[in-house]
Subunit: 482 residues, 2 copies
């Protein structure tokens, strides 16, 4: 029988959890709980009654039912590497963290169907490895891939560097297994490419940040392994010509461009410093840089020649100042290390006010010009560190602490700069949460920037699937009405 | 003020509609209504109080609000070419058809963002043409493309022949405009590739067959136009080797296979007869055939050589009996006319009991063997006409009326054969509604084949978005509980 939750002390609730879920699935000590209560940057610290670590789907189901009995809310968490606090419990003794890290099995792989089935606690790098071991590509790739776990990638619909060719996490997923707010299990682990036998529940749970259900496993698409990969770092005069170059490369190479990363001078410099990477023959005096990668499963695709030829024609057309094509995997890795070094380099250079935004690609040049002007008008000392997945219209438009300004004084302007940039983005038909999600960080900003009709639809769906608001309350969906 | 709907006669309701929506937006005469009340094959005949033809989104919103006042249910319809009765009104005087055919504008095209914005009543062929005029490809392609309209393609998440490379309608759509059950408009016409600023409402409305809202416009992805297209008809020994050939071609050609259509001997014969197509050098004695197409935006992709080389190696490996590569666009069209002629050829050959099913690709050979055996055990005279998009795991597994058996006697076995095949499909992890949808035809079959937890989720979402069950009642979501 369910105890009356109001009547129970926190300790009694903890004992109830241990009794029903087993001691191996319940973490109670402060030291052991600590890593689950804060994220790696120390932001969004919280507390929780307990951390639950179920080992399989049935145990997740039991844990959810048990929490319902006890009136506890649940914060699902997998790798705890997110950037918006989506996996952080809030300051509330009536929340538990439900960690999926013990559910880390690759359940099945079907190379002939080009699919694999993995549990939510599987590290992204292990999913990639399982695919590669079957001579297949799992294309999702992120800077945190060694730490993040696939459940979080699903919950946040993670993007990364290969979206241009393969899509976001949503486009890679075919089926899901989800534990619902009442503990029931939806077994939607289909490996089908076509299925119109109902409403699309899969895509509703993906990107819902654990607010509608707890994803415990997924079936993903796999692709042929690339066997011809070519990478170039290109200095370009401006963003408009960077986009023109992307379109040229897509057409010339038969749509094999898998990555197209834009960086401004400061981003390149910080990335280089962080990576300790050599200049690689590229002058650091251009205003913008593009890191492009072409890949084909056909080892005889001749992408090196295509890339060299295309870049030469682009240079003749004024789209390119200078370019270097990696001659071997080492140089390729060196070029990527510059891009991957940017976030770390930024941290070294002081505090940042960040914007993870997206726009129609056609609006990017105009946005970059207007946004720079707005920031300059506020404070000409603020340095822009701009980089991102330009082929997806997704920019990390980050403001770096001016030299000489105190860290706290700069960060105190977070909301003001956010509003400034987000208003511009919204006015241009863009998104204020492109790939990192909403979580705690932007839940309130949605009130300002989202169509009220859409917010109302979100609340109605939340109400339908989690009427008691037990799943990750306060995340993604704004409103105390919930 | 809203009149009390119970107090009004049907004629009074009609007058109310005309008064509030304008005479040009309300069709009342039997002759003028007839084309909207039956579909092209004469199945699912129904009646309706009126047919509404709003000319823009605001008029749709007014129409929906007006119907709510009058207690009328709404059957959204665009091209009325569907195969499952999703756009057919039922035998109920309290339903109206809401036709979107007057909303047929291309609202915007943004070649730099590779997107276009079209209204729901736009014919598919006109969407394709608008893209081509901007030197872009809109890849959705179906046999009914000259008649069907994009609203129906969205409502049913249409598939077609290019899904293998470009995805279903869902994967092509970026944003939607939807009139909700209460007449409110959700303006979600984003052209963004990355947007994690909320729940994924877009994909919930797509494929919902008008049961959750009325899609009035959409933003779609465009792609570079193919400039090298190569097509081959290949005789193969069996389905397993057809799949092996597909994987070989994908790897060899750098993932440029855009279509891969499997046909058994009868399907090929019927298609040929219907198309009046010449044999094209392919013997009609092989058990299975594959129509494959490779396409690249790079005119120098050399796909002809790739295809010829791959087919030669496949023949040496025993995957191919014989093949012919189209030498020019005329022959290419001739090969496609065989595939496109199959449904018509089937009608000529007598009645059919049809199954639009999908499976994990790895299960297809086993399914085909077991399904053929089950049908043979029931009645060895039944002829199998099997064809479909094998690269998507989607088959049209159709049973043709035995020679000598009466049409009605054969069709009387529809449900028995459906259950036989659908049970097998479900047991193998497949779908009983792959690309044509559920509509009226399969709504009840879902009760038998769908996880009750999933059905319950569908009902809860329907209840949240259309609490009075006014939008396309009886379609897609089984249950009089609604």
């Amino acid at each position: 029988m369910a105890p009356s939750s109001d009547a129970l002390s926190p300790d009694a609730k903890r004992r109830h959890l241990v009794k029903h879920l087993g001691p191996e699935a319940v973490i109670l000590s402060g030291d052991a709980m600590a890593p689950y209560l804060a994220e790696w940057r120390g932001r969004f610290p919280g507390r929780a009654l307990a951390v639950l670590c179920p080992a399989d789907t049935r145990a997740v189901s039991r844990a959810v039912a048990c929490c319902a009995d006890l009136g506890l809310a649940i914060v699902p968490q997998s790798g705890n590497t997110g950037l918006v606090g989506g996996g952080s419990p809030q300051d509330d003794a009536d929340q538990v963290v439900l960690s999926l890290e013990r559910m880390d099995r690759v359940r099945a792989i079907d190379p002939e169907n080009n699919t694999l089935t993995v549990e939510a606690g599987c590290r992204l790098v292990d999913v990639q490895r399982a695919a590669r071991d079957a001579d297949r590509l799992f294309p999702l790739s992120l800077p945190s891939e060694a730490q993040c776990r696939i459940g979080g990638n699903l919950g946040s619909n993670a993007g990364g560097t290969n979206v241009l060719r393969y899509g976001n996490t949503r486009e890679l997923a075919l089926g899901l297994e989800v534990v619902l707010a009442d503990g029931q299990v939806w077994s939607g682990l289909t490996g089908l490419r076509k299925d119109n036998s109902g409403l699309d529940l899969r895509d509703l749970f993906i990107g819902s940040e654990g607010t509608l259900g707890i994803i415990t496993a997924a079936v993903f698409r796999l692709y042929p392994l690339p066997r011809d990969v070519q990478t170039a770092l290109v200095a370009v005069p401006d963003p408009a010509r960077a986009i023109a170059l992307l379109r040229r490369l897509q057409a010339d190479s038969g749509d094999t461009v898998t990555a197209c990363e834009l960086m401004n001078t400061l981003a390149l410099e910080l990335g280089r410093q962080q990576a300790g990477a050599a200049a690689g023959g590229i002058p650091d005096t251009a205003p913008w840089y593009l890191l492009v990668e072409l890949a084909s499963p056909n080892p005889h695709a001749g992408l090196r020649e295509v890339l060299a030829h295309s870049l030469a024609e682009a240079q003749a057309a004024g789209e390119v100042n200078k370019s270097v094509v990696a001659v071997d995997p080492d140089q390729r890795q060196q070029l990527w290390s510059i891009r991957e070094g940017i976030p770390g380099g930024q941290s070294q250079a002081g505090a940042s006010i960040k914007h993870d935004i997206s726009l129609p690609i056609s609006r990017l040049p105009d946005f970059l010009a207007q946004a720079a002007e707005r920031v300059r008008a506020e404070d000409p000392r603020v340095r822009l560190c701009t980089f991102g997945h330009v082929g997806d219209g997704n920019l990390h438009f980050n403001l770096s602490q001016p030299e000489g300004m105190a860290r706290d004084a700069f960060l105190a302007q977070w909301t003001r700069y956010n509003d400034l940039i987000h208003d511009l983005v919204t006015g241009m038909g863009g998104s204020i949460a492109a790939e990192h999600g909403v979580g705690l960080l932007k839940a309130e900003a949605l009130r300002r920037h989202k169509d009220p009709v859409e917010l109302d639809l979100m609340r109605r769906i939340k109400q339908a699937l989690d009427p008691e608001n037990r799943l990750n309350p306060g995340k993604l969906i704004p409103g105390d009405e919930l």
